[in-house]
Symmetry: C2
Subunit: 133 residues, 2 copies
DNA sequence: CTGTATCCCCAGAGATACTG
DNA sequence: CAGTATCTCTGGGGATACAG
């Protein structure tokens, strides 16, 4: 790749960085993106170890960014379903190459993700430990 | 249906999150990716306000991740040139849809990027080609 | 020119307990 | 079930000065 003609403006990136740089945001977007609708606790379980507060925070952020949609049912017990907005779906798509790249890199380099995700030694603590692969 | 039929593996995401979630990482990757080689201070200027320490930190991270290549010349004054490795180039490609999405969103929504990136003081003309919004 | 070496600060992430 | 309410604490990021 060389200095190709298509320009790039880094300014918009500042915006998305505030979104995707959130530790859990991409994860959550991806998870919701792979379900039409998904409930709070389901997300939480899939994120293995996220605290409800953190999840709640990110969820609210994503709502504010108009990336996810929140639908609450006035039932007992309460039920809330999250889904992607159109913007969110587009983001999810845009993120997919990134995930592919990560997967390729991951398996090519060290086969980290081979069903042993639940006990990975020595991964940085910033990293979440996923259990399902 | 929520458990096994439709899952994606989020484990690889751990890796990339530690990379792209760094506030400046994607920016830097993109900047380097749009130059074959670029020097420390050039990056710094384009990042409008990053401190040398922060830049240095991220740069080292990216090196460690084998995403960028660092070539130092034993000259006086010293010269160091950064470029993307193959992995870095792939990442740069993978990130592009994200940037496009961000651009689209940006201009559609609020036109936040109104030329602010055009007039950073002290930028040389030759890099202005990429600064088009 | 290309970085280190320090010091500081606060937002983000976690843990836990509690509520509508 | 779906979240708040607190409290803590770490480390990323900034500023500044300095070194090779």
């Amino acid at each position: 790749m060389e200095n190709n003609s298509n320009h790039i403006c880094l300014c918009p990136l500042e915006g998305i960085i505030n979104i995707i740089a959130k530790k859990w945001a991409i994860l959550i977007i991806s998870i919701i993106g792979h379900h039409e609708k998904i409930r709070f606790n389901d997300i939480m379980q899939r994120l293995n170890g996220i605290s409800p507060k953190t999840l709640s925070d990110v969820l609210k952020d994503l709502q504010k960014e108009n990336l996810i949609h929140r639908e609450a049912f006035s039932e007992i017990p309460p039920r809330v379903e999250y889904s992607l907005t159109d913007d969110g779906k587009q983001l999810c798509e845009a993120v997919r190459p990134l995930i592919r790249w990560a997967e390729k890199r991951d398996t090519a380099d060290k086969h980290r993700c081979r069903g042993t995700c639940h006990d990975k030694p020595g991964l940085s603590k910033k990293v979440m430990t996923q259990k399902k692969c």
